[in-house]
């Protein structure tokens, strides 16, 4: 296997950096290691293929936006909207992330070991074979899965009891599902969201995702393989129905 491409990005602007990444991927490089990352935005933006990008440091906003295929692993916290409108591939974040994580994500997976900010998974959507997945190891702030139109959000709440305690979960949700470890207070549900029982069948479906996540962060998956979850789904696929009358 070829040597990874290692770049010290200290003080570098994101634009030449992304050019280097794109060029390397085009020439067949399979692994790129970015050291001393501090605030560079748009890393992996729109990159296709199956390369692996390792980010050491704190990347700036919109990490992996429009990314279609690669895996990007971050050793540090991510800022605003990692996985924004991401298409395929994966973001593995060994840390926490800011607001609007996985905004409008269309496919692939975003794993956040720590916590996420507000509006995580906002407007995630699925179509045919593409079903985006956002898994959060810690907790989430308010408006999780707001406007969600498809896909899966899973919050394990490690170190947090209850797993989520901010309002507006699934507010305006009209597709997809939000799975939260333990019970969720009904008053935290947003408009148009409803809580249903998490069944054994659900566990069977979720087991590969839980195991995948735990595997990436070296967590024992066993304590999470039970039905102690809350499943939040849309009360209706048409949250606006009934709001309008004809002139």
């Amino acid at each position: 296997m070829a040597e990874p491409l290692v770049i010290d990005v200290k003080g570098m602007h994101y634009s030449p950096l992304n050019k280097m990444i794109r060029k390397a991927v085009a020439t067949g490089v399979k692994e790129i290691v970015l050291n001393n990352v501090l605030g560079q935005r748009f890393i992996g933006n729109g990159v296709r293929g199956d390369a692996k990008i390792i980010v050491n440091g704190v990347p700036g906003g919109d990490l992996g936006m429009f990314m279609s295929g690669p895996e990007c692993e971050v050793f540090g916290n991510a800022e605003h909207a990692p996985g924004n409108t991401m298409d395929q591939g994966s973001l593995i974040i060994h840390g926490s992330a800011g607001d609007a994580v996985a905004h409008s994500m269309r496919g692939g997976k975003v794993f956040v070991e720590g916590n996420i900010g507000y509006r995580g998974g906002i407007h995630m959507k699925e179509y045919e074979g593409k079903r985006p997945i956002l898994v959060v190891g810690g907790t989430s702030h308010a408006f999780l899965g707001e406007y969600m139109a498809g896909g899966l959000i899973l919050v394990l709440g490690i170190g947090n009891e209850p797993a989520v305690q901010d309002r507006g979960i699934g507010s305006g949700i009209h597709g997809g599902e939000i799975i939260i470890r333990g019970d969720v207070d009904d008053k935290l549900l947003g408009v148009g969201a409803k809580k249903v029982e998490f069944t054994d069948d659900d566990l069977i479906r979720l087991t590969p995702v839980i195991e995948d996540f735990c595997g990436r962060f070296d967590i024992d998956p066993k304590p999470f393989l039970d039905t102690n979850y809350s499943r939040i789904i849309p009360a209706s696929a048409r949250p606006f129905a009934g709001k309008y009358t004809w002139e």
């Binding site: 406007y147 507006g168 305006g172 009358t245």
Partner: protein
Amino acid sequence: MSLGSVPLKYKISIDRDQCMKCMRCVDNCSYGVYRVEDDKILIDSRKCTACHRCISMCPRDAISLQERPVDYRSHPVWTVEAREDVINQARTGKIILSGMGNAVDYPIIFDRLLLDACQVTNPSIDPLREPMELRTYIGKKPSKLEFTKNNGDIDLQTKLTPNLKLDTPIMVGHMSYGAISLPAQLSIAKAVKKTGTFMGTGEGGMHEAIYPYQDHSIVQIASGRFGVDIDYLERGAAIEIKVGQGAKPGIGGHLPGEKVCADVSCTRMIPLGSDAISPAPHHDIYSIEDLAQLVRSLKEATNWEKPVFVKIAAVHNVAAIAAGIAKSSADAVVIDGFKGGTGAAPKVFRDNVGLPIEAAIAAVDQKLNDQGIRNEVSIIASGGIRNSGDLAKSIALGADAVYIGTASLIALGCRVCGNCYRGLCPWGIATQRPELVSRIDSDVGAENIANLIHAWTLELSELMGAAGLNSIESLRGNRERLRGYMLDQGLLDVLKIEPMGV
């Protein structure tokens, strides 16, 4: 000598091919337009008021109505109305009585105000999925928070005085039992309870059918003091002193004896069939300090547990008067603009006296703000609020909440024919005749009014969300979010808004 007749105001015709002679028109018209002779429906169009009752009840859409079927010679000064009023008064020598609100074609300021919305620099908020707060508290507010510090803890010293808690800044204004029917008032009462807001009882006491909704009622005390006793005052969630009314500033009211049926007489506590006359002023208020005294007297009587509002008509000096009211113990100032409705008002008052509510809100809000006391007293605006756009603009100009009147009656069927004072309302609203009153089912009426309040509330939420506001406090007096469209500089200065494009 004869002046002869004036041309028909409305002409009714029936499409005889469509008509199935179900006679619903005959049964429904309380003005006597239709009669049956030899199995034929005959029409007397001269009696028509354009109330639309027959049209709305016709199952075949067979009835049509034409306004002014006969032309006068057109003249820009001597309008048709001016000529007909002269003829009428030449015949009778009397004051012309009219119903509903101002019917002169003044420019409507609301229609020349444009609301703002967000783009780019701030996100609009979708009220479907994010919190949107319309809760409004009406009443006195402290000027500042008083507290003591106690080992890092804060102990609140300020005690709030009672406020009304509204789930939406839309209330239904004062329309008395007497002016309107009991099922009409009951519809309103049920609707405000359902929507978490309040209604005014008007100056006519409280019928016992309204008692179950008294926690959502604002009882009114006007110059006639009809139906007022300590029980009445204690029933209300708040008390309103009515000084004036936008439709007829400076004059009193008059409920004709024929509307004073047994039930009305007992609710108003006056003899059956006698006229109920409200004097022009309160004869215990000849000056501002007398008003303050009445406010305090009402508060004393009710153990300082009820907010007291003072309603005035929007007149030229409205701002100074409102400031005077604000300095009394009154909790809210109600300003009623000259487009406000009424059961009966002299036409010359209805059409010529007072100010539009838009200018009055702006002037009062500004005066109170200049004195640093705006937040300490609430402003309720009324008089010509037609839709949620008017509502949003009223609040942006500085109102805390609005009263609607005419709109709530339209929700009960009213078509604004303006003949309320005749007591023949075919919709069962402005009448006490049992056969007409029974046309309103208060459960259905309540549903309609509640729907209207709910729909406007939804629209207000959308407008606020579009403007990036999630709390009604942030719309109130936020004139930055209004622009004037074709308004002159003088009026822009009064409204304290910029013209569009600035």
